[in-house]
């Protein structure tokens, strides 16, 4: 009996020692983590839903940047950690997920938020959370105008800046008469309206417009109408599957041979499914991997190696936003919200898209406007956006806290 008790005691002791040995490294590593205190960046973005393809760009670029920072030994000597959450592009989800990140993980930095409606919902809470948000995607003009908040910065090209760029280009373009086809919902109408205004301001003739409902599968009748009007230029405000179907069918009718097609944004996501059909299309670009800057060449090479394809629009925009954020942290010597805002104001950084100045007055990143044309290049199964013209930042960036150019 006694010996058996002894045995059990010895067994228990051995067990406890063993448990301690197993737990110790965990406790140690936890202590180490607290000592160096990682910089946590919250990325509540659209991982599923309509914008999943764009959210994928955000996530993969953040992961690439995390690797890059790790190799360099961190920022301010601290490791950088990205926290991803899926919002499906829904503002209510986005605020909830962001709030969870603030409360549970002590996050004070946000980026990669997808829809402008989500960004507007989050910027309204930034002061309450004492958090900082640098936009990489959000296009809505009001974020740096009517809805300006001190803790928000926009590193990316805004919607009005894209429209402005293409308007500047049209002024110089040889085409005299323009027709527009748009998707029959809010974005299509507003895009065509902006275009119409810009065309008239450029002293050219706007000869008509037509709107097609979403989900239109046969564009033949619209193409017949465009042919009959026979404009020099055609503005296309169709996206996604609708855009793809239109370009495909327009190419089958050889529409592009007589009429130059323009669109708001030329992006590989739109060019890929269209195949050769989008060749020749001209539009503005927020970022293209063909941009010839030293920083971009390095980034494209690295990206290509990691993912086996060149970076797309929001890969480049996300990368630029993070580079600017890290530059500000270096300047502030901290990742705390208030000093970071101060360091960010007036910050000048040279990144993948060239030189960006984060304006003090409205926190918009002043940067050049890019016009691209979809061209066939060897080694690519689809046309790629090639830069044909750039406009300097002071022509493209709107007046302070404005989203129009009057």
């Amino acid at each position: 009996m006694i010996s058996r008790t002894m045995d059990r005691r010895r067994f228990l002791r051995a067990g406890l020692a063993g448990t301690a040995a197993v737990l110790a490294p965990g406790a140690l590593s936890q202590a180490r983590a607290q000592g160096t205190n990682p910089i946590r960046i919250g990325v509540p973005t659209a991982i599923t839903g309509t914008w999943a393809a764009l959210g994928d760009q955000v996530v993969r670029t953040c992961k690439l940047v995390a690797e890059e920072v790790k190799e360099k030994g961190g920022i301010l000597g601290r490791p950088v950690e990205f926290l991803f959450e899926d919002t499906q592009g829904n503002p209510a989800n986005c605020v909830r997920k962001a709030q969870e990140m603030v409360e549970r993980h002590g996050v004070n930095l946000f980026t990669g938020i997808m829809a402008s409606s989500e960004a507007l919902a989050v910027t309204a809470k930034l002061a309450e959370w004492n958090a900082f948000f640098i936009s990489s995607i959000n296009g809505a003009g009001e974020l740096t105008a009517e809805k300006f908040v001190p803790n928000f910065f926009r590193a990316n090209t805004s919607g009005p800046m894209g429209a402005r760029t293409i308007a500047l280009y049209l002024k110089d373009a040889p085409q005299k008469t323009f027709f527009a086809i748009g998707l029959d919902y809010a974005w299509g109408h507003s895009s065509v309206a902006v275009f119409e205004k810009e065309i008239q301001r450029a002293g050219k003739e706007f000869v008509g417009k037509v709107f097609a409902p979403t989900g239109t599968k046969d564009y033949a009748t619209y193409i017949a109408r465009i042919r009959q009007v026979n404009p020099d230029g055609l503005y296309v405000a169709l996206t996604g599957d609708d855009g793809t179907a239109f370009y495909q069918q327009a190419a089958q009718y050889r529409l592009g041979e007589k009429i130059q097609m323009f669109t708001e944004l030329v992006d590989m996501l739109n060019l890929r499914p269209g195949g050769d059909a989008t060749t020749g299309l001209i539009g503005s670009s927020r970022y293209t991997f063909t941009l010839d800057t030293p920083a971009n060449r390095t980034f494209v090479q690295r990206f290509q190696k990691a993912y086996g394809q060149p970076p797309d629009t929001f890969d480049g925009e996300q990368y630029q936003a993070l580079q600017i954020l890290f530059r500000a942290m270096d300047k502030a010597r901290t990742a705390e919200t208030a000093p970071l805002v101060k360091a960010m104001e007036g910050l000048e950084a040279t990144t993948v898209k060239g030189t960006v100045v984060m304006r003090e007055c409205d926190h918009q990143g002043a940067q050049q406007g890019i016009v691209v044309r979809a061209v066939k290049r060897q080694g690519f199964a689809h046309p790629i956006p090639e830069v044909i013209r750039t406009y300097p930042a002071d022509l493209v960036t709107p007046p302070c806290r404005k989203s129009s150019y009057s």
């Binding site: 709107f211 793809t244 495909q248």
Partner: protein, 289 residues
């Protein structure tokens, strides 16, 4: 563009669109005629046809192989679905079929998403059909002529099959009085499975032929099924000739309507449907049940 050129090209446009719509609505109406069920999965099968056509073309290297094999494959899948999911329900009321076919549509769509991913898949026009011809000095894609031609050939062959062959006779008889057909010793179950498979194969053929125009994408079935319902209602539920005429009416109204009155694009086919229903409540070729 001269007025004659415009009318001729628009007429051909309407005919090619009618061909696509016919392939989808003919299957829908055949299935309704013989089984008295509205197949909500029809749009999803059309989409599945487009995706399978894309993959089979890629795999075999020939558009023609994809065009031939995808409808056969989807026809087989349709036959199997009837056997597994619908056959046990024939004693139930129509509500059961609504739920099951709607569920099938969701399952098929998600399966396609899992299999091919969320990105649209582009099927190129085969080189033999990629050219344009000049019609009254206006370039017109040969592929659209091929669409229109295929539509006419399929419509005439199906019509002859239903009218002239013994199997066609049995199908028509089953549509009229299934119990009577069974009583004279014909296996009605077998006919039902076959017709369901045939309807699905037609939808898939439409899907493969639509893919070079719109690419194969996840929402394509949803967009087309509503138009197919409108056609079936205009033509008369269960009437094969009705689906052919209904397709021509809807395609014509869309092509010419969207040209002259683009603001009404969304409403115009429904206006046509209402007009037909006011004049003939059972559709152009339908009969009171």
């Amino acid at each position: 563009m001269s007025l004659t050129a415009l009318l001729v090209t628009q007429g051909l446009n309407a005919l090619s669109l009618a061909a696509l719509l016919f392939l989808i609505s003919a299957g829908l109406t055949l299935i309704f005629g013989i089984m008295r069920i509205i197949n909500f999965a029809h749009g999803a099968l059309y989409m599945l046809g487009a995706y399978l056509g894309f993959s089979l073309t890629l795999w075999s290297g020939s558009y023609w192989a994809g065009l031939a094999a995808a409808p056969v494959a989807v026809g087989g899948i349709g036959w199997l679905l009837e056997f597994l999911a619908l056959r046990p329900l024939y004693r139930r009321d129509a509500g059961a079929f609504l739920l099951v076919t709607f569920g099938l549509a969701l399952v098929l769509t998600e399966s396609v998403r899992l299999g091919w991913g969320p990105d649209p898949q582009r099927l190129a026009i085969p080189p033999q059909l990629a050219a344009t011809v000049s019609i009254l000095d206006e370039p017109f894609p040969v592929y659209r002529l091929f669409l229109a031609g295929t539509g006419v050939v399929v419509a005439v062959s199906l019509w002859q099959f239903l009218e002239r062959t013994r199997l066609g006779l049995l199908i028509r008889a089953t549509a009229q009085n299934a119990e009577m057909v069974e009583a004279v010793g014909v296996n009605v179950r077998w006919i039902r499975s076959g017709v369901f498979g045939l309807g699905c194969a037609l939808a898939a053929l439409g899907g493969v032929m639509a893919a070079p125009l719109v690419t194969a994408y996840l929402g394509m079935g949803l967009n087309v099924i509503i138009e197919a319902f409108v056609i079936v209602i205009i033509g008369g539920m269960g009437s094969f000739v009705g689906s052919a005429v209904g397709s021509l009416v809807v395609a014509g109204v869309q092509t010419f309507g969207n040209f002259y009155l683009p603001e009404l694009a969304l409403a115009i086919i429904y206006l046509a449907m209402i007009a037909v229903l006011v004049l003939r409540p059972y559709g152009l070729f339908g009969h009171e049940e």
